[in-house]
């Protein structure tokens, strides 16, 4: 592994994924007792290695909008988790530039027993915002979510649509340079989805770098200019979005 990385994207990269390999353990026994019983029966007791990502490399230039495409279980979400820092690669390196935030975590920090207002503050702080920033954006967040007076209610009384809308509204109002989106745009009704994708386009126009994981071909073609197809844990294709979509449609499952 060399210490320098050759730039492959057209602009300065905001995300660098360099020869990343990630494997998980597939455990064959879950306790010492089970291991012992399995061993006496001649079964396999040691854990197997399971490759989720195998030597994946790509770079995303600043301001680019890129879709990561692939079938279920191909390693798309794992890729995003490496970029967000939730997981560490076994081999290879990941670098990011600027503030990274993800719509992966929509609603993850919500506590059902807290009010909408308290949850907005908690979640925005989780995404790295300061109190002053949240104070300044609070009204925008509530307006975007279309929650209205329900903001003082406990979140457990929200409908699932309201819950997701509020969570999405928080995430989208965080100051960021790189946005990671993982299959969350199936939020709310048609009108709200439109509003979300408009907001994402607005962010893209402002120069925010985006990495989007989605199965919705219509949406990624609308938002992204480039597509990376991950198939069986490797990069199969990296290029213009229309061709990427073509590749995924013609790849046998």
């Amino acid at each position: 592994m060399s210490d320098t990385i050759i730039q492959t994207s057209e602009t300065t990269p905001a995300i660098i994924v360099d020869h990343v390999t990630k494997s998980f353990l597939k455990r064959n026994s879950h306790s010492m007792k089970e291991a012992f019983v399995g061993w006496t029966k001649g079964k396999k007791v040691r854990a197997d290695q399971f490759h989720a990502l195998d030597d994946v490399s790509f770079q995303i230039g600043e301001g680019e909008s890129v879709a990561v495409l692939g079938f279920n279980g191909s390693g798309k979400s794992t890729t995003l988790k490496m970029v967000s820092g939730v997981m560490q690669p076994d081999k290879g390196r990941v670098f990011t530039k600027g503030r990274v935030a993800g719509l992966i975590e929509v609603g993850a920090g919500f506590h059902p027993d807290l009010s909408g207002r308290e949850n907005v503050y908690l979640n925005a702080a989780i995404l790295g915002m300061s109190k002053e920033q949240i104070d300044a954006r609070f009204d925008d967040i509530v307006e975007f979510s279309e929650i209205g007076d329900f903001i003082e209610q406990e979140v457990k009384h929200y409908s699932s649509g309201m819950f997701m809308r509020l969570a999405f509204a928080v995430a989208i109002h965080v100051d960021l340079d790189v946005l990671l989106v993982d299959e969350v745009l199936a939020v709310g009704d048609e009108a709200f989805r439109k509003k979300c994708s408009d907001k994402l386009k607005e962010l893209a126009a402002e120069g925010v770098t985006m990495l989007i994981v989605s199965h919705s071909m219509g949406m990624v073609q609308d938002l992204c200019s480039r597509g990376i197809v991950i198939h069986e844990h490797k990069v199969l294709f990296d290029g213009p979005i229309a061709e990427a979509v073509q590749v995924i449609r013609t790849t046998p499952h």
Partner: protein, 294 residues
């Protein structure tokens, strides 16, 4: 062909451990507030439970140890003696227990978003401290009832005891919180330690009994336990002042700090600091696989 200057880049998920918590203090504050405001959610009595539960436990111990085993006659102002030690151990148990399950309890967050994970055990310990305050309030009332008039040394002693408890629960808490993600055995082992804590410190009896009955080796070992030291600090702070010094006519009075107390206290502090260092190292090692182990 351009090469990239990697100095401008961050490595996602690389933290500076406890130091990062300072940068995230606003979130820490919100996490603590979340803990306190949801603790007694959906309960009619709410925070009353924070007073009722320790009081009931206290009365049980007091009946058994004070009356049945006659400690009331051996130690003057025994309720005050016992309660000051009892809530100290309660604070440890609560802090250590909460910290142990802190990472697993925040599974949803840990799996999906990166933030310094030390925040969770630290928030748990601060929450335990807040939960300890009502008990401290009861203790103050009881102490004043017994004619407690503290000076600077008493107050300082109480603060030292509480600081020591915070330190030891932080070290042990980090260690167990990290291990608990992969091995839930840690939770059960922590439970064992918590059960032992009340008996392995002079809460229900006086420290003299240990060297007397078990010999000097166990006596030394016993006195190196940071919780023992903290409890003795609390006894000095709240109880010793209200009773006469030990004498022929006052067998139940304060006999003074155990011999070599300063040295033992130093050892206890060193043990606690070492535990914090080990805890942080283990936690950081375990942290790398939190997201996939949860």
């Amino acid at each position: 062909m351009t090469t990239i200057d990697l100095n401008n880049y961050d490595v996602p998920g690389r933290s500076r451990g406890i130091l990062d918590v300072i940068r995230w203090r606003y979130l820490l504050r919100l996490l603590v507030r979340k803990g306190t405001s949801t603790r007694y959610r959906n309960s009619a009595l709410g925070w009353t439970w924070s007073y009722v539960k320790p009081l009931i436990q206290f009365f049980i111990y007091f009946l058994v140890m004070g009356f049945i085993f006659g400690q009331r006659d051996n130690v003057e102002n025994f309720p005050l003696y016992m309660f000051s030690g009892f809530i100290t151990v309660q604070f440890f148990n609560e802090a250590f227990g909460n910290a142990t399950t802190a990472v697993v309890g925040n599974k949803a967050l840990v799996r999906k978003i990166y933030l310094p994970r030390e925040l969770f055990p630290i928030a748990a310990i601060i929450n335990a401290f807040i939960h300890f305050l009502p008990q401290l309030a009861i203790l103050l009332v009881v102490a004043i009832f017994y004619g407690w008039r503290p000076g600077f040394t008493e107050i300082g002693s109480v603060l030292a005891g509480l600081a020591l408890i915070a330190l030891i629960s932080f070290g042990l808490g980090l260690l167990f919180a990290g291990l608990n993600v992969r091995f839930r055995d840690a939770e059960n082992f922590a439970e064992v330690i918590r059960q032992l804590a009340t008996w392995a410190s002079p809460v229900l009896y006086t420290w003299q009994l240990i060297p007397d009955k078990m010999g000097s080796f166990f006596g030394h070992l016993y006195m190196c336990n940071p919780i023992t030291i903290a409890v003795e600090f609390m006894h000095y702070g709240f109880w010793a002042e209200t009773v006469p010094r030990y004498s022929e006519t006052h067998q139940g009075g304060w006999i003074g700090f155990p011999p070599h107390f300063g040295l033992y206290a130093l050892v206890a502090v060193v043990i606690s600091v070492i535990l914090v260092v080990i805890g942080q190292l283990v936690f950081r090692r375990a942290e790398r696989t939190f997201a996939q182990d949860l």
